[in-house]
Symmetry: C2
Subunit: 219 residues, 2 copies
């Protein structure tokens, strides 16, 4: 079956919300996609017709097996293009998300297989998010946000939010990148800011906002 760009965007959004939430509501989708709830309802009815999700009026929506497979195909295209944009075209990673959102809808399977090969079958995109293989399998790097990390618990930076711009600049300044070893030394309840230790450098301060956009894997 074939999906329009609008449909693909809904599928992707449902998949993303479903990761944390299992059952996705109309309002959540409406916020995620910047459309009105009424439009979401319309689209969910159409996608239900296409048998890629379970939708019960008033009770939210969930992708079925087919729907998840389609979603992972879109994610795969998105992340491969992001990798291409950063590795080959030398974009900063905060600039690539918007462009990849367009490229991901180009629908030639052979294009994607060749792109994957050209890029050397990367396992993760520039934000640290895993790239599904052609059959939809991907590493489940279960990372949490640095904000959720326990104090004194060593961890490695494994990703950053792929939607937020301006992140590379501040991370460069703070000398944080994917792979950096970090540990929370102190947490201020007043503003949620953190004092963290990086290798043998002096303590640095991160705002709550920043810590929420950095993902880590505890060691």
């Amino acid at each position: 079956m074939n999906f329009s760009i609008a449909e693909e965007n809904y599928i992707k959004a449902i998949w993303r919300l479903q990761q944390s939430d299992s059952n996705v509501t109309t309002n959540e989708l409406s916020a995620e996609l910047q459309t009105k709830p009424a439009s979401v309802t319309d689209m969910l009815k159409r996608l239900k017709e296409k048998k890629i999700l379970n939708y019960e009026p008033y009770y939210g929506v969930k992708l079925n097996t087919d729907g998840k497979k389609i979603a992972l195909g879109i994610i795969r295209r998105h992340r491969l293009w992001e990798y291409f944009l950063v590795e080959k075209l030398k974009f900063e990673w905060d600039a690539v998300h918007v462009i990849a959102e367009e490229l991901e809808h180009v629908s030639s399977p052979e294009l994607i297989e060749r792109l994957d090969h050209f890029l050397g079958f990367p396992k993760a995109d520039p934000h640290g998010d895993p790239i599904p293989d052609s059959s939809g399998r991907m590493e489940t790097t279960r990372h949490i946000s640095l904000h959720q990390l326990k104090e004194q618990q060593p961890a490695v930076v494994s990703g950053v939010n792929d939607q937020s711009s301006g992140l590379p600049e501040i991370l460069r300044q703070k000398k944080i990148s994917i792979g950096t070893k970090v540990e929370i030394k102190q947490r201020f309840l007043f503003d949620g800011s953190l004092e963290i230790k990086i290798r043998n450098q002096p303590l640095i301060t991160l705002s709550e906002q920043l810590a929420k956009n950095i993902f880590v894997t505890p060691l």
Copy 2:
């Protein structure tokens, strides 16, 4: 101003037809785009609103200066992507046209400038068609089809039809590629077929159909 994918396809089609025809008719466009003449009329009225072409009911259409600039931007994107697909992803050139028709609508100017840089600022796409620079200028390689070449007139193959599939296979077999020196030795009026000479090889026969899809620059 911003154009939809449908609008861009019309602009590109008008530009292409305008090359040989100056004044483009509704029916020509309808044939080129595989739509009904009535749909063409509708779209021409909308594009006239946007002031990128001159359209007089019953008297055809012509892109104005702005329209040509937009068209050349689309052509630029198309041809750069074709070059990428062949040179980097190792597609055969008859496979790339359809994919490039999708990629050409991805609308980030910075993407295209970086892609151009990454590819080394190529002057022509894999079919020999010149790539406009970022301000819309391009080499006017005035090539003619091999079918139109005069007998005994030496020429160099400078391009092939970018829309026809199966061409690389037959050209590989006949040992013809861009840059090959050719000369027509004999033309048969019966079926339009040609006997041509390539370097120091024995004469080979090309069908009229094939000769019409090969472009040459007379020497």
